[in-house]
């Protein structure tokens, strides 16, 4: 219980108030079970006076709490206090908000662009899951001491009252009474109606934030382009900002992912550490003049994943490097000679005495893992599941076992077409996934049947958005009301994709 008498949870202890805004009050607290600091955002009680807002909070706050991305602040819990105030319990990050950093003006241009790239990654992930931020502004970006950006308050503005914005709102703060957002960052269509909120309105707000980030001022009235104010700013940045701030939403970029890729091309790896660049350079040593490093997607003891740009074709390519002791070379080599619309194209493979590399096409639509915060509708499930099955059937007919089928290896094109990646590659579990490998939890040897089982788990996750693997008892799948509501044939596909105990009837 805090000084204001808010009873939130027995496991959260209030410490002090650390922020206050038009929508909410923020407290620092301690999660007593783990003795770790947390931030508590307690929304205004008036927000729950309307019944529709309460039901919307109950429905959508769960989705917000499920967002899981390195550039989005983690929501640990959510609920409604004994006094009827909605709240979110979030991870506590020590640092400053981007507003303060912009005001200080200490950031290098490459750091500023890297912050924008991180914000775009967070937005792309949330948008792929149907979550619109609605209040993108520097005050909602938290920066830690390593310049890692965290976007705060995804979708929280959604719970604000829908009332007309005050034209006199000159201090740029979000207030109850705004049309869900902050006036200076609001797209023109939102001024007309809050119902016009969309991915494109978030991208408009991002455009304002990005302009402010590179110039230090807001783009008010007839604003000068950033490169006019500072010749060191590349013209490509002007173009990105101009497109984001286009009054006609159809002229704005289609996705945050598109902006991220444009910015990565501008940066040419300027945000990466020299050692990272050196390692990446060694990976493509034979074709160094053909490729330009844009980003390091992943690096660990087993290898690395890089994003390169083909200097001639200007295509983006993913280059995966693995140690020779890792599996996957045979499969990559076979797939290099094959083509299927639902399998990621392998453009080349090579090997030396230590490592092998596989050059693959880059897909803009992200991966299935990033779309599992809510269940798929039946129609889209069947469409994606069919594409997965067609790809797997084709691979099996060509003697290729995947052996590692999981949501992270199902990628999407910008048009939503599914493509399977990483045939034959091992997954290294660092204990992150509770219970180990859900997709082959009996440790069976890789075969057609293990791929079928993995697909069954994957399909179950798509239909239930379950954070747990399917469980079996006495030969029957332990289902819940949500699963039981599926059409029977769909249930049977999931059940038979997995396994049943010998002798039990389907």
């Amino acid at each position: 219980m805090d000084s204001e008498g808010l009873c939130i949870s027995a496991v959260i202890r209030f410490k002090k108030r650390i922020g206050h805004g038009g929508m909410a009050t923020v407290y620092k607290g301690v999660q007593t079970s783990l003795e770790r600091p947390v931030a508590l955002k307690v929304l205004k009680k008036t927000l729950l006076d309307r019944k529709d807002v309460k039901s919307r909070f109950e429905r959508e706050s769960l989705i917000i709490a499920r967002l899981n991305h390195p550039n989005i602040i983690d929501v640990i819990d959510r609920g409604i206090t004994s006094k009827g105030q909605p709240y979110f319990v979030m991870e506590y990050v020590k640092g400053a908000d981007l507003k303060d950093l912009i005001e200080k003006g200490d950031l290098k241009l490459s750091q500023r662009i890297h912050i924008a790239v991180q914000i775009c990654k967070a937005l792309a992930y949330a948008h792929d899951n149907g979550v619109i931020h609605r209040d993108i502004k520097p005050a909602n970006i938290l920066m830690d001491r390593q310049n890692h950006a965290y976007v705060l308050d995804f979708g929280i503005a959604h719970f604000c009252e829908k009332t007309q914005a005050s034209n006199k709102n000159e201090d740029h703060h979000t207030q109850v009474g705004d049309v869900m957002g902050t006036a200076a960052y609001m797209a023109p269509e939102i001024h007309a109606s809050a119902d016009n909120t969309s991915v494109q309105s978030d991208l408009y707000a991002f455009g304002v934030l990005f302009y402010e980030l590179v110039t230090g001022i807001l783009p008010l009235g007839r604003f000068e382009l950033p490169s006019t104010q500072n010749p060191n700013i590349p013209k490509a940045i002007d173009k990105v900002i101009e497109r984001c701030l286009c009054p006609d939403e159809s002229q704005r970029p289609r996705s945050a992912s598109e902006i991220k890729n444009l910015l990565l091309k501008v940066m040419h790896g300027a945000h990466l550490a020299p050692a990272q660049k050196e390692r990446a350079k060694k990976t493509v040593s034979k074709a160094e003049d053909k490729f330009s490093l844009l980003d390091v997607i992943k690096e660990d003891e087993f290898g690395a994943v890089y994003l390169f740009e083909d200097k001639v074709q200007h295509d983006l390519l993913v280059i995966k490097k693995r140690t020779n002791s890792s599996a996957g070379f045979r499969e990559s080599k076979l797939l290099h000679k094959l083509h299927h619309p639902n399998i990621v194209t392998v453009k080349g493979v090579s090997k030396n005495d230590r490592v092998f590399i596989s050059v693959m096409e880059y897909l803009k639509g992200g991966c299935l893992q990033d779309r599992l915060i809510k269940p798929f509708g039946w129609k889209s499930f069947i469409s994606i599941a069919t594409q997965i099955c067609e790809a797997m059937d084709y691979a099996h007919r060509n003697q290729i076992i995947h052996g590692n089928l999981r949501p992270r290896n199902i990628l999407f094109t910008s048009k939503g077409q599914a493509k399977i990646s990483d045939f034959g590659f091992d997954e290294h579990y660092g204990g992150g996934q509770e219970g180990g490998n859900w997709y082959n939890h009996l440790g069976e040897e890789k075969s057609v049947k293990t791929d079928v089982y993995a697909a069954g788990v994957l399909f179950y996750q798509m239909l239930t958005a379950s954070q747990q693997p399917p469980e079996w008892q006495s030969g029957k799948l332990c289902t819940n009301a949500q699963f039981d509501a599926f059409p029977k044939p769909l249930q049977n596909v999931i059940i038979q994709n997995n396994a049943v105990e010998s002798g039990s009837a389907l």
Binding site: A385, P487, V500
Partner: protein, 100 residues
């Protein structure tokens, strides 16, 4: 837990056959390995004409009853309300068929 891999599909061609047999919101579907089943909580789209006919007959019956009891002027009001309710009901039924 003893799982029996033998009971699984033997390949993705079988999964594909079952997936392709599923038709959301249409006729009863036949799974390659399962009994006939229907979508949308067992309700069939074939029932729509009967539902619609029932609503129209109900509206007509109501109007005849009201005229006969001297409440003629209120007939259209009743009809309007009934039709409105029927449309909302049918919309929800349609949504459940489409699996939304």
């Amino acid at each position: 837990m003893q799982l029996n891999p033998e009971a699984r599909y033997s390949g993705f061609f079988e999964v594909l056959a079952d997936l392709k047999a599923i038709k959301i919101g249409r006729k009863p579907v036949q799974s390659s390995k399962q009994d006939v089943a229907t979508m949308g909580d067992g309700q069939s789209k074939a029932g729509f004409p009967f539902v619609l006919g029932g609503v129209v007959l109900l509206a007509l019956g109501t109007s005849v009853l009201l005229y006969s009891t001297g409440n003629g002027p209120r007939v259209w009001e009743y009809l309007q309300l009934s039709a409105h309710d029927a449309i909302i009901w049918m919309e929800s039924l349609k949504e459940s068929f489409l699996g939304k």
